[in-house]
């Protein structure tokens, strides 16, 4: 029988909406199983779901589906970096220089140590530098989602979020600037070498500035109405993410700038502190599933040793930076170690930075990808547990019976 016209054509066309729904549902189920059966944070369940469904597992989420889901990743990461940027309090950094110094020191030491270690593993300088730059950033997703899931509040939580915001900014800036070196190494084109990072830095920065000014201006006109502010901020977040993609700018840099400025330019607090956690969670589940699918146990075959060394060097860099300087910054004794643990997670941000820096020159991948993805695999699974341990131990997570909701 011929199709009378209203039945869908067989096989059914790919639908990004169905893909989104399926990712969300699968992640949700994985998260609940992790929570109920293994009593581990839901985040780990989302990642394991991705790992299982992805090319490294049963390959239901094949490379084409992963490419189609890139738009969700951009929205989720954009929203996360915006939210994290809003937590970076420049006034605090100005008042407590030691916190600022801690942030710079742990970023610099992480970069330096990871770079040196990877050179020892005979990785060429360019990929070693890229890996070291990626190592700087703590996972914004894990920091934000875990602090909300544990309903954690207090000095360690606040410092974790501020240091994560700082090291994310540093990592994104350094990877962007490394593009110069990459172009120089692989194409030797001076114009490209100068213009590409410059376009990304200035263009993304400008877009972030415009978005934040738009929010501030419109919020003043609207007056303080929570629901309106929610829609306003969400609209500009989505718009800024879309514009950055359209203009081939850096979504990461744009959204970090946007978030930092919308908080720190708003001295009179005209914008209400709108809470994206419900809407955000939908995207974050998908983000973790997709980033889980980008990982595979196979990468461990070639990258496990160097990846393990990467993880240790990164830990040493962060520990050295935090333990040396936190002491001066008014934190109670013993908490520097816990703060270090909270900075360990890596996740989607690292994967996206890896894609951005190696996207133009696929020959860069190979060993670099194996090392970074091995490290991400380890820290994406262990990270949430470390954060949970540290915040609970610090007494900043709510008691168990209260987190049941």
């Amino acid at each position: 029988m011929t199709n009378p016209g209203f039945f869908p054509e067989w096989p059914l066309a790919h639908s990004p909406i169905v893909l989104f729904g399926l990712l969300l549902l699968a992640g949700f189920i994985g998260g609940e199983l992790a929570r109920r059966l293994a009593r581990i944070p839901r985040l780990i369940g989302y990642t394991l779901t991705g790992l299982l469904l992805g090319p490294g597992g049963i390959d239901w989420l094949d490379t084409a589906s992963l490419a189609a889901s890139r738009v969700f990743v951009d929205i989720a990461l954009g929203l996360l970096l915006f939210d994290l940027g809003r937590r970076l309090d420049l006034d605090w950094l100005a008042r407590d220089r030691w916190l600022f110094i801690t942030g710079l020191a742990e970023s610099a030491l992480t970069f330096g140590l990871v770079f040196c270690v990877l050179i020892q593993f005979d990785l060429p300088a360019v990929p070693a530098a890229i890996a070291a730059a990626i190592a700087i950033a703590t996972s914004p997703a894990v920091a934000l989602v875990m602090s909300r899931e544990l309903r954690a509040e207090g000095q360690i939580t606040e410092r974790m979020l501020n240091l994560t915001a700082m090291n994310s900014v540093v990592a994104v800036l350094v990877t962007t600037m490394l593009l110069s070196w990459i172009h120089h190494e692989y194409r030797g084109d001076w114009i490209l070498m100068v213009l590409h990072p410059l376009y990304l830095l200035l263009g993304s920065g400008l877009l972030g500035v415009l978005a934040s000014l738009a929010v501030l201006g419109l919020a003043r006109v609207l007056g303080k109405q929570r629901e309106r502010h929610f829609v306003l901020v969400l609209a500009l977040v989505v718009l800024a993410i879309g514009a950055a993609r359209m203009l081939e700018l850096s979504v990461l840099l744009t959204m970090l700038t946007f978030g930092v400025l919308v908080r720190n330019l708003d001295q009179n607090r005209d914008v209400l502190d709108v809470d994206f956690s419900r809407v955000g969670l939908i995207f974050f589940v998908v983000l973790f599933v997709v980033s889980g699918a980008s990982l595979s146990l196979d990468s461990l075959k070639s990258g496990a040793v160097a990846g393990g060394a990467f993880v240790l060097a990164r830990f040493a860099g962060k520990a050295l930076g935090v333990m040396t300087f936190t002491h001066f910054s008014g934190l109670r004794p013993g908490s520097a170690g816990l703060l270090t643990l909270t900075l360990m997670p890596m996740s989607a941000l690292a994967i996206v930075m890896l894609e951005v820096t190696t996207g133009l020159y696929p020959q860069l991948r190979g060993e670099l990808s194996a090392i970074v993805l091995s490290a991400v695999l380890i820290l994406e699974l262990a990270g949430p547990l470390l954060v949970q341990f540290a915040l609970t131990r610090a007494g900043e997570a709510r008691a168990k019976e209260e987190t049941a909701t």
Partner: protein
């Protein structure tokens, strides 16, 4: 010596306790940093004491013992600057005011000490709802009989004290319509209220021993009365004030109690009567609900007037006593406040009207309280 022996103290010495709010600097909700804050201020030398209170969102400042208003205000400013400097390093704000405008009591966590856990065990959710912020003023008494007399006589002026300090118009995100909603929270406790109508310290001790015999109380701490004698300090403690928005107002309220005590103990202008407690709850409610505009009934003359009228009469009567205590300017400030009809509660409502959001009210409450403290190097 029993803890119920009244240990006389220097006549008319005074001390102030202030319960303060710890706010985060993101959305200005109550934060949970009391332990870190106290750990940090303990590292710097400061007068008086800085202590935890029942929930992790509160901190209490205690002055030392003073006889003069000028020294009290100087010390309270020093304490404020010390705690503000520590707060800035931890990126939290310290605010005055009798209530936090929009916190939810279900979010509160009890500060983990044995006594506070015991209170949570005993009082359940009332303990968490007790996240309200008051000022206590101690005034020294030479002996127990004077303390009983003074407790009764200060009770007449409880509405006046409430009206001078009202600063809790908002609770749990809503305007309560009250000028001081904080005292409604206190009323829920079974041992709140007033001292029984006894005439001497021995009568009071007999009453206390009887209640202890019933197993209802163990120490004076168990009474949540508006005014209570404090035998181990040799003081009478006034507990009805909302924490004001500035330390200067807090010191002026201390001077007000001191001058009242000076008047009462030196001239004995009034005599206690059970009638005092017949009008007590009515007068107190009027003061909480309407502040200076509330109605006031004088138990001796049965005259009706507004609280403002009786406050102005009272402040005039206190003038010679304030002069003797060198607190004339502080009471003059209070008189101007009463005449203008201004109050902390009105400032909070005006700020809300201008800002449109309670989070901004809390932010400005913090800025106002910390105002003169210098940022640390």
């Amino acid at each position: 010596m029993s803890e119920m022996d009244f240990k006389g103290s220097a006549e008319l010495s005074m001390g102030v306790e202030l319960e303060l709010q710890i706010l985060n600097s993101r959305d200005f909700n109550l934060a949970r940093d009391a332990a870190d804050l106290i750990g940090l201020v303990d590292k710097t030398p400061h007068p008086g004491e800085i202590k935890p209170e029942i929930t992790e969102s509160m901190v209490e400042l205690n002055s030392s013992i003073h006889t003069r208003h000028a020294a009290l205000v100087a010390e309270l400013r020093e304490l404020r600057d010390c705690v503000s400097a520590a707060a800035r390093r931890l990126n939290v704000c310290i605010a005055g005011g009798g209530s936090h405008p929009f916190h939810q009591w279900t979010d509160r966590r009890i500060y983990p000490t044995e006594r506070f856990n015991q209170l949570l065990e005993t009082y359940g959710y009332l303990a968490k709802q007790f996240t309200v912020f008051g000022q206590h003023v101690h005034v020294g008494c030479p002996n127990g009989d004077d303390a009983v007399y003074l407790t009764h006589m200060l009770s007449r002026y409880v509405p006046h004290m409430i009206a001078l300090s009202v600063s809790s118009p908002f609770q749990q995100g809503a305007d309560t319509g009250f000028q001081s909603s904080r005292l409604n929270t206190v009323s829920a406790f079974p041992l709140s209220g007033t001292i029984p109508f006894v005439g001497t310290w021995d009568e009071f001790r007999a009453y206390f021993d009887k209640l202890r015999g019933f197993g209802i109380v163990e120490s004076m701490k168990d009474f949540y009365w508006d005014i209570r004698p404090k035998p181990e300090y040799g003081t009478v403690e006034v507990r009805v004030f909302d924490t004001p928005l500035t330390v200067e107002r807090a010191a002026a309220l201390g001077a007000f109690v001191q001058a009242l005590a000076h008047w009462m103990l030196n001239e004995r202008p009034r005599q206690p009567s059970p009638d005092l407690y017949m009008v007590y709850r009515y007068n107190r409610f009027q003061a909480c609900r309407y502040g200076l505009e509330g109605k006031f009934i004088d138990y001796e003359t049965q005259a009706h007037m507004t609280l403002r009228e009786d406050l102005l009469v009272t402040l005039r009567a206190l003038e010679p006593h304030a002069e003797a205590l060198a607190s004339g300017p502080a009471l003059e400030d209070l008189r101007r406040l009463v005449e203008s009809g201004a109050s902390d509660a009105r400032w909070l409502r005006d700020t809300h009207a201008a800002q449109g959001a309670l989070s901004n009210v809390a932010r400005l409450q913090g800025e106002r309280w910390m105002q003169d403290a210098r940022a640390p190097a």
